[in-house]
Symmetry: C2
Subunit: 351 residues, 2 copies
DNA sequence: ATTAATACTGAAAGCGCTTTCAGAATTAAC
DNA sequence: GTTAATTCTGAAAGCGCTTTCAGTATTAAT
C-alpha cells in the first residue's frame, strides 16, 4: 500500500493503465479506443478487435471521473429514500437499480430517516457528486431543493405519489384514493367508528394523503374522524401496538382501525393477541402496502397492495428515457388494489 | 431543456457556475477557492469569508467528476449486496451509508440476487466508476474479482464473515459458531433428530459455514445430519413452508428444525399452523438473525441475533480510516447471541 | 479513370478541478 | 532596520477521457 505525505490512502505503486496505453499498445489513436468504448459502430471491426485485445491484455478499466468530466455525464443516478432497511423501499430500490444497470448506470443512494433537513443535504451532496438524474420520494420539500435540482439541470422524478402541485414528474399511485378505498371497504361492512394510525404527518405528503382519503370516505357517509381516533406514531410495529392499546380504551371504542403503514397493522394484531381482543370479531384492522407478511399472519391482513417495485422500475425507465433524449409523456398513476383478507369483517353488534 | 444532436439530455442553457467564476467574483485565484473547500485551515479568515460569500451568492456546486479526476479520489464508496429488499441487508446498508456520509462520502450500491456472475459485473462497473473503497458480502468469489480490486488498489472489506482464507480484511461474526450454538441449544434440550433448512449453498460461504457449524455440533454428540434432513431452498418464507411440510413427512421425523435464514423459520411456523403441528410441542424451530418479527410472532422465535447494522457501521468506519491513512488492526469478530424464545423446547416423548 | 460521396481515423482542444512550486506578504528574531 | 523564518496566495501543469474537426482511405457513381 502507498500513502502520501499526510498518510492518506493512495494508489498502488504500479502505474495505472490509461486509455492512452491501450491506444499505444493497439497501435491506434486514443480517439479510436474511446470510440470503441462509446460508439463501437463507428469503428472498423478489424481495429475494434485489436483494441479489444489490448484492453483485455492490459486489463484496462476506464476512469469514471475522466469520462464524466469529458463527457459531462457520470452514468450515475441518485436516489434519496426515507429509509433503506425495510422491504418497502428496498424493493423499489432494488428494482430501480436493476433497471438502470441494464444501461450501465450506477445507483447512488442515501437515506433520510424521514428528515427533510437530511434529505436536503443528501440531495446537495449527490448533485455535487455529479449524478445524471435523481429519484426522490414524495413531493413535499422546501422549494430550494427543487431549485438546486433545476439549477443543475438534470432530470428527476418523484415516486410514491401520483400528482404534484408544482407539476413535477412523478410515478406512483393515488395515496388519497387508496386511503379512501380502505375506509369505504370498512364503511360498506357497516363500521361507523373508524380510527386511524398514521406515521408522522409533518413533511410526509403520502401520509397526509392517506389520512385525507380516509376522511373523504367518512365524509361521504356523513361521518368524521374524531381527534382521539387519530393516532400518530413513528413508523414501526411498536407504534402499532401502542396505538392499538390506546384505541381500545377510547369511548366510543372504534370498531375498525385503518393503519397508514403496514407495520402498524402487524403491531395491532400482535397487541390484540396479547390483550385477547378478537380481530375481526371485536375490531377490524387494515394495513397498507401488502408486504409479504400480510398474507401469512393470522388473521391474514386486509390491506392495499401498492406497486412498490413497479415504482422503482418505472422511475428507472423514465429517467433512462429522459437521459437518452426521449421526452416521455406523463404516465397515468399506477394501480393499487384493495386486498380483502381475514382481518376485516362487519362490526360487532352493538351491545 | 436542451438536447444535443442525438437528442440526448444535456445541460440547461444557462451557464454552469465553476470554481473559476467563484474565484473571479471573490477577487481571488481559483487555487484559493479550492483551498477554501478542501483545506480551509490554510486560508486566512478574511479571504475565506469573501469566498464563502461568493459561493453562496453564485450557488456554486463543485463538479464531482473534475474533483475526482484532479484529486484521484471520488469520495464514493461502493457496496455490492446480495439483495436490497430485506431489512437484513437493508439495515447494514443504511448504517454503512449513515457512517460514511458523516465524512462526505457517498454510497454506490448494487444488488446481485446471490449471483456470482452479477456480482463480478457490478464490481467491475463500480471500480470503473471510480469508487474509493468497496464493501462486499462474504469471501467466496472467483479470484479474478479480488485481482480487479487489488489492481485498482483501493481498500475494501468483506462483511458478514469473520475470517477468510486469503486474509482479506473482514468484519462480521462467526457463522460456523452461530450455527453450532443453535444446534447445541437443541441438543442440550435432548433433541436427537435435527434437520436443517438452508439457502442455496453454492457461492455462499455464510450458508455453508452455518451448515458446517450445525454438523460440528451434531458430531460432538456423535450424531450427524442425514441427507434427507437437509433441505436447500431459495431464501424466503415460501421455502420455509415447503421445507417444513417435507420434513414433517420424513422418517424418522425430525424433532427440531434449524433454519439457516429467518424467513425459513417464519415459513415453518406458518406452515405448522396450517398443518396443525405444535411448535415446540411436536417440533422445535429456530431462526437466524433475529429480525423484528422473531419476537412478535407466535410462538416467538428462538434464534441467533446477528450484528447486521453493526457490520455496516463498522465497515464504514474501517474504510474511512483506511482512506485517511490509518492502518487499522483487524478487529475481532463481532458477537452473535443466542436468543431463546418459545419456538424451541424439549423434544416430544417417544411414542 | 475520374469525381463525388461515404466511412474511418487521428490531432488537439478542452472538461473543472487539485496541487506543486515559487513568489509575495507577513511575522519573528536579532 | 535588516535578515530569517513563516504563512499565505497565485500561476500553471496536469488528471484521463471525449469529441470536434479536418483529413485520409475507401466505395459508389459516372
Amino acid at each position: 500500500m502507498a500513502f502520501d505525505s499526510e498518510g492518506a490512502f493512495r494508489d498502488p505503486g504500479y502505474a495505472r493503465v490509461t486509455l492512452e496505453d491501450v491506444a499505444r499498445s493497439a497501435g491506434v489513436s486514443p480517439a479510436t479506443v474511446s470510440r470503441c468504448l462509446n460508439t463501437p459502430s463507428l469503428v472498423r471491426p478489424a481495429l475494434k478487435a485489436k483494441v479489444q485485445e489490448a484492453i483485455e491484455r492490459l486489463e484496462y478499466l476506464p476512469n469514471g471521473a475522466a469520462r464524466a468530466l469529458a463527457s459531462q455525464r457520470s452514468r450515475m443516478i441518485g436516489a434519496v429514500f426515507p429509509s433503506l432497511d425495510s422491504t418497502l423501499f428496498g424493493g423499489a430500490l432494488e428494482a430501480l437499480q436493476g433497471e438502470i444497470s441494464t444501461e450501465g448506470y450506477t445507483l447512488v443512494v442515501a437515506a433520510t430517516s424521514y428528515s427533510a433537513a437530511r434529505e436536503r443535504s443528501h440531495v446537495q451532496n449527490l448533485l455535487a457528486s455529479g449524478i445524471d438524474a435523481l429519484v426522490l420520494v414524495g413531493a413535499e420539500r422546501p422549494p430550494e431543493v427543487y431549485r438546486m435540482i433545476e439549477r443543475k439541470g438534470i432530470p428527476y422524478v418523484l415516486i410514491w405519489i401520483d400528482r404534484t402541485e408544482g407539476a413535477h414528474p412523478c410515478i406512483g399511485f393515488d395515496n388519497h384514493g387508496a386511503g379512501q378505498a380502505v375506509a369505504r371497504h370498512l364503511l360498506d361492512m357497516g363500521h361507523r367508528h373508524i380510527a386511524m394510525v398514521s406515521g408522522p404527518l409533518a413533511e410526509n405528503d403520502r401520509a397526509k394523503s392517506r389520512l385525507a382519503g380516509v376522511r373523504t370516505a367518512l365524509a361521504e357517509r356523513g361521518l368524521s374522524l374524531p381527534a382521539d381516533h387519530l393516532i400518530e406514531r413513528p413508523f414501526g410495529v411498536a407504534g402499532g401496538r401502542e396505538a392499538f392499546r390506546l384505541l381500545m380504551s377510547r369511548q366510543p371504542r372504534p370498531t375498525a382501525i385503518v393503519c397508514g403503514s403496514e407495520p402498524f397493522a402487524y403491531g395491532a394484531i400482535f397487541e390484540s393477541q396479547a390483550m385477547g381482543v378478537a380481530i375481526p370479531g371485536e375490531v377490524s384492522v387494515t394495513g397498507f402496502d401488502d408486504m409479504w407478511l400480510a398474507a401469512q399472519i393470522t388473521p391474514s391482513l386486509t390491506t392495499v397492495r401498492t406497486p412498490q417495485r413497479q415504482m422503482g422500475a418505472e422511475a428507472g425507465r423514465y429517467l433512462l428515457s429522459r437521459l437518452s433524449g426521449k421526452e416521455i409523456a406523463a404516465g397515468r398513476p399506477l394501480d393499487f388494489e384493495l386486498v380483502v383478507r381475514a382481518s376485516s369483517g362487519p362490526p360487532p353488534r352493538e351491545g
